[in-house]
């Protein structure tokens, strides 16, 4: 359904060109949940914004393709993009107030969203809105739709944002860390709903997160981003049980539960380089224990369902 090919989105800042997304290839099938993980600044959000066509200047797409049901969105006219956005493709943000206007009731938000994209009457629009709220687990939805955003807790607002994203039964939802600010029990409630909806409605989902644990529980496939590139991707069990890229392996090994209680965690040394000071060749080179002269070149992506970008991939024991 979604097929990103060598997507490149760069920001042309006075200080230099920030290659936020630099050659990302990723597919999402109907009903599939893909987890996109990586540290802050690795390009996760900009990948999402690129798909939905919301990259603002000085950012701009400079290469690649975004095939959505076979149609290249990068060449598509603005009118067509507007049509797809919010209709076939929807995005959920970390802060639900990005979607919600504090002075409008939930009812206004939802009914207007339906009417903007479809020729239906108000009564039908309202019926669908209430149904969407029920779907994300808002109790007493017919009454609570009259509320304003501030009358809801953070978790409820996030549910409303998800309900709005669901209004047109999109084919694809891009969720950018929507539960990061929420508590564990509330996060679990939302994960449960989202999972159920994908299964029942056959929606594809890109779940952006910096938490490998959340992605492990939710996703079918996982893609690990580092410095603007996907350095490893594949089925969740494959990638987390047999990571091949040293960065993925470092992340998996540094999780507290993968270490003996009370003992030092196996840590990745150093920190991600600032975007304008990325090392040439493999960007992970300066933190990698296995780097050689070869790594001064850009490692190509390997082939197969489980693939990686590394000249010296590891096996399970961490050896080459």
């Amino acid at each position: 359904m979604l097929d990103l090919r060598e997507l490149q989105t760069h920001f042309f800042t006075p200080a230099g060109v920030v290659k936020a997304v630099d050659g990302v290839s990723l597919t999402v099938n109907r009903g599939e949940i893909v987890g996109l993980v990586g540290e802050s600044g690795s390009g996760k959000s900009i990948t999402g914004f690129s798909i939905i066509g919301l990259v603002d200047p000085p950012g701009r797409n400079v290469g690649g393709q975004i095939l959505f049901n076979g149609e290249d969105l990068l060449g598509a006219p603005e009118r067509r993009l507007r049509q797809l956005r919010g209709n076939r493709i929807a995005m959920i943000f970390q802060d639900p107030m990005m979607t919600l206007n504090p002075v409008l009731s939930i009812r206004t938000h939802m009914v207007e969203t339906v009417l903007a994209h479809e020729k239906v009457g108000r009564a039908e629009a309202l019926r669908r809105s209430v149904e969407a709220l029920e779907m994300v687990g808002i109790p007493d939805a017919a009454r609570r739709i009259e509320s304003y955003p501030h009358e809801f807790s953070g978790g409820m607002r996030q549910r409303v944002a998800i309900a709005i994203a669901l209004l047109h039964r999109p084919d694809l939802i891009i969720a950018d860390e929507p539960t990061t600010a929420l508590d564990v029990t509330i996060q679990a409630q939302i994960l449960a709903q989202v999972q159920k909806l994908c299964r029942e409605l056959g929606m594809g989902l890109i779940w952006i997160s910096h938490d490998l644990g959340v992605v492990a529980g939710l996703a079918d496939r996982v893609a690990v981003m580092y410095a603007g590139k996907i350095v490893e991707q594949g089925p969740v069990d494959e990638v987390l049980d047999h990571p091949r890229h040293p960065y993925t392996q470092g992340l998996v090994n540094s999780a507290p539960l993968a270490n003996e209680r009370g003992k030092p965690l196996r840590q990745i040394r150093g920190a991600a380089p600032p975007p304008l000071q990325r090392p040439q060749g493999c960007a992970f080179r300066t933190r990698c224990d296995h780097a050689t002269d070869r790594c001064l070149q850009e490692p190509p992506e390997s082939e197969g369902v489980h693939r990686w970008r590394c000249f010296h991939p590891r096996n399970m024991e961490g050896r080459a």
């Binding site: 508590d183 910096h210 644990g213």
Partner: protein, 347 residues
């Protein structure tokens, strides 16, 4: 066992919320005063022994930071007593009070907002020990260089400003600043929450190393149960201003007594739990302005009984060093928690 180092006894803390502008206008026009009382802490007991790491967990707004600040002496309790090395903190005066303040340092979540952006690192770290007469001014540069090294930063960075560092490095600066006054007790309030995944492990390791090298005692506040499991000797779980369970880390993780603890453990995201079918606890976290009667957890508890709606359960010993506040412990036979292990790894 070592002696109790810091202790909260029957501590309660209430805050009065200030009305916002619209509410103030409404009151002027004759509406009822909407000022409300938040019960941030409600009769909390907590003892931390010398050299111990106590993990304090619970969901947003349950009172973790408030308790941390009260134990650190930064905030007075509305009721109850805080003891520091056996003495009532509120009664300390002069040199003793000053020493207690220096001995306890808090490390916050957001390293940026707790560092003065206009000061150089050398002053951020070195100012307090000079001001308190712990070292002569001429030794400041050397002290700072040593501290930077201790927290894993290059001493040559001492003339830089906070914005010239990454998040992880700024957190290290915050830790070095806290260590500069030779504290014995660190209160870490979500100190790793804002850091990147690959940096969290580094800072956790640093805390564990410092504990060994400097014999520190920690109150480690975190919502991340897997981190608390890793570093804490004892865990204290709070819900809406009350302690609901406490005990040795391994005992609690192996066999939680309180239904809320069980629910939390069930929901921790872990990389070894794949393809989960989530079965979360129902319901919202209630507001501390108007908490539910009896056991605060009763509207969300799958085991709630009539008694739970009216009677507050006391925190009682339930064996193995564990304490729990739940009426189920009075039943002849208590229900078992179903631990769902979701590893459906059938190939």
């Amino acid at each position: 066992m070592s002696e109790v180092f810091a202790e909260a006894v029957g501590v309660s803390r209430r805050f009065t919320t200030e009305p916002d502008l619209a509410e103030r206008i409404a009151v002027k026009l004759g509406a009822r005063d909407t000022r409300r009382v938040v019960h941030a802490l409600d009769g909390v007991n907590l003892a931390i022994r010398r050299g111990e790491v106590v993990g304090l967990v619970g969901e947003s707004g349950c009172g973790k930071s408030t308790l941390g600040r009260i134990i650190a002496g930064m905030l007075p309790p509305s009721e109850g007593t805080v003891r520091f090395r056996g003495k009532d903190r509120a009664r300390l005066r002069g040199q003793e009070a000053r020493q207690a303040r220096l001995d306890t340092q808090i490390i916050f979540q957001d390293p940026m907002s707790s560092l003065n952006p206009r000061k150089r690192v050398v002053d951020i770290i070195g100012e307090a020990p000079v001001a308190h007469g712990l070292i002569p001014r001429k030794d400041k540069a050397a002290l700072v260089a040593g501290l930077l090294e201790k927290v894993g930063l290059d001493p040559s960075m001492r003339d830089r400003f906070p914005h010239q560092f990454s998040g992880g490095q700024r957190q290290r600066i915050g830790i070095a600043r806290a260590l500069a006054v030779n504290p014995e007790f660190l209160v870490c309030d979500e100190s790793i929450a804002a850091l990147d995944i690959s940096i969290q492990a580094q800072v956790i390791n640093l805390f564990m190393q410092l504990r060994q090298d400097l014999d520190l005692t920690y109150l480690f506040i975190s919502h991340d149960l897997s981190v608390v499991h890793h570093i804490a000797d004892r865990v204290v779980i709070m819900y809406l201003g009350r302690v609901v369970e406490s005990g040795p880390t391994e005992a609690i993780f192996a066999a939680p007594n309180h239904p809320y603890t069980a629910a939390l453990l069930e929901e921790v995201p872990r990389i070894d739990r794949r393809h989960r079918s989530f079965q979360p606890v129902k319901g919202e976290i209630p507001s501390p302005i108007n908490p539910p009667s009896g056991c605060h957890f009763h509207p969300r508890c799958p085991f709630a009984m009539d008694r739970c709606r009216v009677e507050r359960p006391a925190l009682i010993a339930v064996g193995g060093g564990q304490e729990s506040a739940c009426h189920l412990n009075d039943l002849a036979e208590r229900p078992r928690f179903t631990q769902t292990d979701n590893r459906e790894k059938t190939a």
